[in-house]
Each structure stands twice: as structure tokens, then as C-alpha cells.
């Protein structure tokens, strides 16, 4: 079995960085001590080794196909989804009463990371179901809960999120799918089309249940007139299921994730008999959807980081096996070639991948932890955790998605020509990871969210809290001679960012939001370097303490690898923030001043 994830690293983050067992102070999470957490991580790995990883390449080579109105997926899909359901993973976060295990999101996401690293083409399906079930659980009627939740949680039915339409992608205010009440709202007749619906149809389950956005006839225009409906492919009637006039027009030929269907759905087009069932209040659909959106965004970051993780270990293995060339100082061709990991530039590429992967994991788990605390705690602690979760979500989604693409590309580069062939998995990882920068809000959307909303919410309180957290790590690192120089560097980047943000706000006030937001994506990139620097200093502080306490064998190597990757990050990656600062402080207004007709 090839390595696709580091269990040791996940334990480092879960136990040493976050002390997840401490979440037991909340009644909901009692029982999640270190032993149970480790057992859950082991079970996730065992399940992945058996049901997910062996089919990763297979699902790409034997991709999903559309055939006469049905979508056929790889035969591993059904047993894989069932194994995850029977393992309790689809419902793990939910209440005991509905078969859940009240699992902290921090642990669930760590386990999900393992599943995704093994084979996200399969594992995305059950967790999409979890997201759909969450909407019904939180906002649906008792009848909807009774009808749908057991079938979703046992893996027999697939859940989806059906938002996008041909004329409305990122701009959901423009959706036109309609819902007409029948029998005073007993159900609604749904009409319209939905595109790019992940998991939208496949034969790995018995039914597909769409959590779908549509407008009730006469509803206000824009986002205030959007309602949420349960729209199953087959609706329960009597003791059986009846076709609900949800037709799959086709599936998209995607660059990657070929085992994970994106479907084009037609609703009520054939028989004018597509029924939807209102979830919660009319016209509150987008509000409900957005309450789940941050978790979905963390999920997208997880898929990206997990794909980059699998790519890293594939390239690391190759670098440790492939002899090629000699050291620059060695001109003796009679001597054997050295392994490519002996070359400094190959190690640079491996360090880059490791920095992106492990930095992303640290941030994603920290966000999950903030999510748990914000939901379970009260008062100031809950509020602060919520603010940090909100502020960091755009980075936790975008950094692994954008930098992960480069990380996988580096992995491919390590393999040279072999990496470009399908003899190795890197080319698939490269195709598969690309979409994450588009899913759940493009990077542009997250840049706008960060600069336009998150940094200014509650008069900048979230940013202030983040500053305090970064300062804590800086102060700790300053007490350690090996890390003190990096603490100073991070402090300087933080100060520079603060200064840049102040200037941007000032400019925005003088020249309007177009100027303020024009380079929001660049600002997100800049902000990401600071946040990841914080993540690496945090990990290095812990590693240095562990080394100072005395380690041997593989443990010593593990902590040394953390320190070395931190050094790499600060010497090779963090300096890139300086160039971005120059761009953001420029008054040239290049993008705003570029007339469309100039782009010829």
C-alpha cells in the first residue's frame, strides 16, 4: 500500500497542536478522549486502505459514463459508500438519537482528510450527503426528517446541493428555477435546470435527493426570493418510490475527478410532475444554504490539501528510489548515479509540497476546532472562536486549493517525464486538484469576502483577534534561539500587512469600492502568506519544545522535519509577501485602468 497521508502528522496536529481531547469539556463531546480519537483515526485509515485507495486510479481510468438517461459509476462506489455509512461516518457529527456519534468536527475533518487523500472521487459522495442532510436536520420539518434522514445516513440515498443554473453561477441572485405551490403548499411543482451538480445522479445509490434552490412564484427578485426545497429523483409514495421527473440531461466531461459526476439536471421538463418539498420558511433558502457554506468551504480546502498530500508522498517515494545524475562536485562517471533526493533542487520541491500540505492541514484543523468551540461554548469564547473561524475560512479554502495546484505540479516535476505519464498518479492528482479553486466560491469570491466583509466585520475585531494569536506564537518563538529570527520576520510581515490594509481602506474611502476591491485576490494571497507563516511558527514552536525535551529515532526525525520545513517556509515562501505588498501599495490601478478593448 502506497503512502497517501501521514497519520503521525495528523496526530501531531490533533493532539499536540490542538489538544482535541480537551473538547470533552463540552458535554456533547464527552468520551472523545485521546484513545477514542486515535481509534477513530485508525478506523478511518483502515477503511480508506480497503475501500477507497485501491480504486483511486481505477475510477479515473474507468470514468463515470452517461448512458441513455442513467449515469453509471465505477462498481466500487456502492460498497465504498456503504462502508462509510456503516462505519458511522456520514452521520458521525449528528445527535445520538438519530444514529450519530456527536463527533467533534475537528476529529471528523481529520478522518475525512484521510478519506479524501485516499480517494476523494469516492469519499466526496457520502460527505455531500452529510451536507444535504444537515440542511434537512437544521431547517426541515419532522416529516422531511423522518422520510429522508435514515435513507441518507445509511448510504442508500445520495444527497446533493443543487444551486447553479446555466445563467446563474456565482451570482445566485439570478436563479430562475420556479416552484409553484400545490394543495396550499403540501408540495411545490418545480421547473427549471440545474448544472454542475456534483453527485447529481449515479447508480451507486438507490435514490438521489437534491437540496435545491428555486423561486416560489411571486417571490421578490434577488436573493430575498430564493427558497430551499427537497427534490428527490424518486419520491416516496405509499410503500415505494415513484419517478419524480428529475431527468439527467448529461454529465460533464471534466478535466479531472472523472469518477465524481457533475450532472446537468432537468426538473419537470418531461411530465410537468417534479415535486419539491419546502425546507423551513419560504424565501429563506439562501440564508439556510449559507449557514452551511463555511463548512462546505472548509471541506473543499480539505479535498485540495488531501490531494496534495497524496501527491507529495508519491513524489517523495519516487525521489527516494530513482537514481539520476551526480552531485555537481562529482565528475567521475564511473561512480553510480545518486538518488534524486540527493539533489538540492529536488529537496526544494519536496519541501514546498510539505510546507503547503502540512501548513494547510494545520490551518484546516484549527478552523475546525474554532468551529467546534464556537458551536459549543458560550459568551466571549464562542464569539471569538466564531470570528476567527469566519476570518480564516477564505484562506483555509483558497490556500490549499491554489497553492495545492502548484504543490502537485512540483510533485510532477520531481518525477520528470515519468510524472507526465499515467504510469504514476501525479498527472491524475494534477487534474483532480484543479477544480477546488473553483468549487464553493472561486478564489476571487473569497478575496472579495475577505477584504470586503471578513476584515471589516465588527469593526475589525476578527483581525484584531488574529493579530493577538499570531503575537502569542511570535513571543513563544522569541524565547527559542533557533526560531527567534523567524518570529521577527513574521512580526514584520504582520506589521506590513496592517499598514497595507490601512492604506487600502483609506484609498477605498477616497476612491470607492472598485478601487478597494480591485486587487482583493492579491490581498488574499498576501494575507495567506502571513497566516501560513503563523501556522509554521506554531508547529515549529511545538517541535522545538519536543526536541528540547529529548527525542530519538523516528520521533526525532519527525520533529526535525517540522523545524526544517518551517525554515524553508520562512526563507523561500514568506519573502514572496514583500512583492505582493509592493503591488497592493501601487497607485498605478493597472487592472482598473485596462480597457477591455485593449485585451486583444
Amino acid at each position: 500500500m502506497e503512502q497517501y497521508v501521514s497519520s503521525r502528522n495528523l496526530r501531531f496536529v490533533i493532539h499536540e497542536m490542538l489538544n482535541t481531547a480537551e473538547l470533552q469539556r463540552f458535554e456533547r463531546f464527552q468520551g472523545y478522549d485521546k484513545e477514542s480519537i486515535d481509534m477513530a483515526l485508525d478506523a478511518a485509515k483502515q477503511l480508506s486502505d480497503q475501500y477507497l485507495y485501491p480504486f483511486y486510479r481505477e475510477m479515473d481510468k474507468n470514468k463515470a459514463v452517461y448512458d441513455n438517461g442513467t449515469v453509471k459509476v465505477h462498481p466500487c462506489m456502492r460498497p465504498g459508500i456503504k462502508a462509510l455509512a456503516e462505519g458511522g461516518w456520514i452521520s458521525a457529527h449528528d445527535e445520538f438519537e438519530v444514529g450519530g456519534q456527536q463527533m467533534p468536527y475537528t476529529l471528523l475533518n481529520a478522518c475525512t482528510f484521510i478519506f479524501h487523500a485516499a480517494n476523494a472521487n469516492l469519499s466526496c459522495h457520502p460527505f455531500l450527503t452529510t451536507g444535504a442532510a444537515n440542511l434537512i436536520r437544521n431547517f426541515g420539518s419532522p416529516e422531511l426528517n423522518e422520510t429522508y434522514i435514515p435513507n441518507l445516513y445509511n448510504g442508500d440515498w445520495q444527497g446533493t446541493m443543487a444551486l447553479t443554473e446555466p445563467q446563474a453561477g456565482s451570482s445566485l441572485s439570478d436563479i430562475t428555477s420556479s416552484a409553484e405551490p400545490v394543495n396550499g403548499g403540501e408540495y411545490y411543482k418545480i421547473k427549471g435546470q440545474k448544472i454542475y451538480i456534483s453527485g447529481g445522479d449515479h447508480d451507486g445509490v438507490d435514490n438521489v435527493v437534491h437540496l435545491l434552490l428555486a423561486r416560489i412564484k411571486g417571490a421578490p427578485a434577488g436573493t430575498k426570493g430564493i427558497s430551499l426545497f427537497v427534490v428527490p429523483k424518486y419520491r416516496p409514495e405509499g410503500d415505494g418510490l415513484v419517478f419524480n421527473d428529475v431527468t439527467t440531461a448529461g454529465i460533464y466531461g471534466k478535466m479531472g475527478q472523472k469518477g465524481y459526476v457533475a450532472a446537468h439536471l432537468m426538473l419537470g421538463e418531461q411530465h410537468d410532475d417534479c415535486r419539491g418539498y419546502l425546507v423551513g420558511q419560504a424565501n429563506a433558502g439562501l440564508k439556510y444554504m449559507f449557514q452551511m457554506m463555511n463548512e462546505a468551504r472548509i471541506g473543499t480546502g480539505m479535498v485540495a490539501a488531501a490531494t496534495a498530500s497524496a501527491a507529495y508522498y508519491a513524489s517523495l517515494k519516487y525521489a527516494n528510489e530513482r537514481p539520476q545524475g551526480r552531485h555537481p562536485s562529482n565528475k567521475d562517471l564511473t561512480l553510480p548515479q545518486v538518488l534524486i533526493i540527493e539533489h538540492a533542487d529536488v529537496r526544494r520541491m519536496l519541501l514546498y509540497q510539505k510546507a503547503v500540505v502540512e501548513g494547510s492541514i494545520a490551518l484546516l484543523m484549527l478552523c475546525s476546532y474554532y468551529g467546534d468551540v464556537s458551536h459549543q461554548s458560550t459568551g466571549e469564547e464562542a464569539q471569538n472562536a466564531h470570528l476567527l473561524f469566519e476570518l480564516l475560512t477564505p484562506i483555509a479554502k483558497s490556500y490549499p486549493s491554489e497553492w495545492g495546484i502548484h504543490a502537485v505540479s512540483m510533485g510532477m516535476q520531481v518525477l520528470g517525464g515519468a510524472g507526465y505519464t499515467d504510469d504514476f498518479p501525479l498527472e491524475q492528482h494534477y487534474r483532480d486538484i484543479r477544480v477546488n479553486a473553483i468549487y464553493e466560491g472561486t478564489t476571487t469570491i473569497h478575496g472579495l469576502d475577505l477584504l470586503g466583509r471578513k476584515l471589516t466585520m465588527e469593526n475589525g475585531k476578527a483581525a484584531m483577534l488574529l493579530g493577538q494569536e499570531i503575537q502569542k506564537e511570535v513571543q513563544t518563538a522569541l524565547t527559542m534561539p533557533a526560531l527567534a529570527p523567524y518570529a521577527e520576520k513574521l512580526g514584520k510581515v504582520g506589521a506590513g500587512l496592517q499598514e497595507t490594509l490601512g492604506k487600502l481602506v483609506q484609498t477605498g474611502m477616497q476612491e470607492g469600492p472598485e478601487v478597494y476591491l480591485a486587487d482583493a485576490t492579491i490581498f488574499l494571497e498576501y494575507f495567506s502568506y502571513l497566516v501560513m507563516g503563523w501556522m509554521w511558527l506554531k508547529q515549529a514552536n511545538l517541535a522545538q519544545k519536543a526536541l528540547d525535551a529529548g527525542q530519538s529515532g523516528s520521533e526525532k526525525l519527525f520533529y526535525e522535519s517540522k523545524i526544517q520545513t518551517c525554515l524553508y517556509y520562512f526563507e523561500y515562501e514568506l519573502p514572496k509577501a514583500t512583492a505582493l505588498k509592493v503591488t497592493l501599495n501601487s497607485s498605478a490601478r493597472v487592472t482598473l485602468g485596462t480597457r477591455p478593448e485593449v485585451l486583444v
Binding site: S36, M39, A43, G88, G553
Partner: protein
């Protein structure tokens, strides 16, 4: 039926084995442990299948070792065992382990005592036979199939060189499990959370004087690196196979 399954803790198969400076003990720093797969995948799971059959019954797992072993014992409970016993000892020999298991089993009236055919670390394959001898019970080794219609008599298939052997044996007996006896089960989250509420009884060991102790371990020689020979240079390949590898 009352079933006793003996489980052992072994390093994960991906562990890089390092010994202490004296060379007489494993350096356990950073070692990830698992339940011995032959104990878990085959012996324990088959015992659970028998318990879940119409015959019913209970499954107790037993381990001889320190409290650091509790994590793998809990895994056995998470998979479905009803209770667990740990004999709180740090045995240096298989004989001591077998003796402790037998001392406990004497009081339990177990119908079957199951364990893996070997552990994947020391590969001794000794415990089963020793337990049977201490208890004066029949011992069936390398079992790849186990059926019983009434819980009184069992039909057991053994893998032997070049074929299989089928034996019948009356309970009680001791059995060592080989691949094929059952299919691996992965603990589900419900089982993991319930494992904490199942009893894990820690007992003092019976007095025992070790008859042998390991004094030194050596790792096998490191594998030589791959030498690439050009396809047209067959003479060089033959020379290396003859003079260096000494295989022709």
C-alpha cells in the same frame, strides 16, 4: 458458547525497527502499535461471527502486558468483543504469556480459545500449543475454516503443505487462526464510542519464573542499491550475478 480470544500488540507493519544501544530491546520511541492482524482479522472476527450466530454466547479478549496495551484491547472491544482482561505483566517469553493465559482460562470454562497463528513481530507460533498443553486441551493450528452446528463439536479446515486437512474436534479446544478463517472488520464509530463502557478487567499475573530471556537482536543486512546494467552488456550482468551476487 464462551469464547476466549488472545490478542497481542505488535508494531505497525510500516514501522522502521530500531533497537536500543544494548541491542536487546526494541526502541519503542515513535512506534505505532496495532493488534496482531492474525489475532484481530481472523481469530477475533470468527469468534464474533460465532457469537452472532444462533448459537449465541460471549467473546472475551485477553492480553498479557502493561497498560500501554489498553488501546489495542479497546479496539477489540470496539470491533465487538463483550469484555476484556489484561494480565498486568511484562513477559519476556512466550512461555510466560501462555502460562498467564492458561491460568486465567482455567477458571473460565471457555468452549474455544482462539488466537492468531503467529504474531507479525516475533513470528513464534508458540503460544497456542503452550496454552493447550497447560490446559490439557486439543490444539488445532493454522485453521482456515471453523464451523460448528451445536457448539459441542467443531469441523475445522487446516491449511497444510500442498492441500488442506479437515479435522473434527469436541469443545473445549485451542485453535490458531490463519488467513481465510474470517474477513477483517473495521470498527465503526458506534463501536468505538461504546468500547469505553465495556469492562476491561486488569488482573495481577500468576507467579512465574522466566526460563529464557532475549539477550540480543540483529537487523538483517541492508539491501544493496539497484545497479543498472545496459541491456547490451549481458557479460557484465553475468559476471555480477556470478561474482558479487553469487547466485549463478
Amino acid at each position: 458458547m464462551k469464547l476466549l480470544v488472545c490478542v497481542s500488540k505488535t508494531p505497525d507493519t510500516t514501522t522502521k525497527i530500531v533497537f536500543n544501544a544494548a541491542g536487546n530491546e526494541l526502541d519503542t520511541n515513535g512506534v505505532q502499535y496495532i493488534m496482531n492482524p492474525y489475532d484481530e482479522w481472523y481469530a477475533l472476527v470468527r469468534a464474533l461471527e460465532l457469537k452472532e450466530s444462533p448459537l449465541g454466547g460471549s467473546v472475551t479478549i485477553i492480553n498479557v502486558g502493561p497498560d500501554a496495551n489498553d488501546a489495542i484491547i479497546r479496539k477489540g472491544l470496539a470491533i465487538g468483543a463483550d469484555e476484556a482482561v489484561r494480565i498486568n505483566a511484562d513477559p519476556k517469553s512466550a512461555l510466560n504469556v501462555a502460562f498467564q493465559i492458561a491460568e486465567y482460562a482455567k477458571q473460565g470454562n471457555f468452549d474455544m480459545i482462539l488466537l492468531g497463528k503467529e504474531t507479525i513481530d516475533y513470528n513464534g507460533s508458540e503460544i497456542g500449543a503452550m496454552v493447550a498443553e497447560f490446559l490439557d486441551l486439543p490444539f488445532i493450528s493454522y485453521a482456515s475454516k471453523l464451523d460448528t452446528a451445536d457448539g459441542k463439536t467443531a469441523t475445522i479446515q487446516r491449511d497444510i503443505e500442498g492441500g488442506i486437512e479437515v479435522v473434527e474436534v469436541a469443545t473445549p479446544f485451542v485453535l490458531s487462526a490463519a488467513k481465510g478463517l474470517a474477513e477483517q472488520r473495521i470498527p465503526n464509530m458506534k463501536g468505538i464510542m461504546m468500547a469505553k463502557s465495556k469492562p476491561l478487567n486488569v488482573l495481577a499475573p500468576a507467579p512465574f519464573d522466566e526460563l529464557s530471556v532475549p539477550v540480543h537482536y540483529d537487523l538483517p543486512p541492508a539491501k544493496a542499491s539497484v545497479r543498472m546494467i545496459a541491456p547490451e552488456n549481458m557479460e557484465e550482468l553475468v559476471r555480477l550475478l556470478h561474482e558479487e551476487a553469487k547466485v549463478i
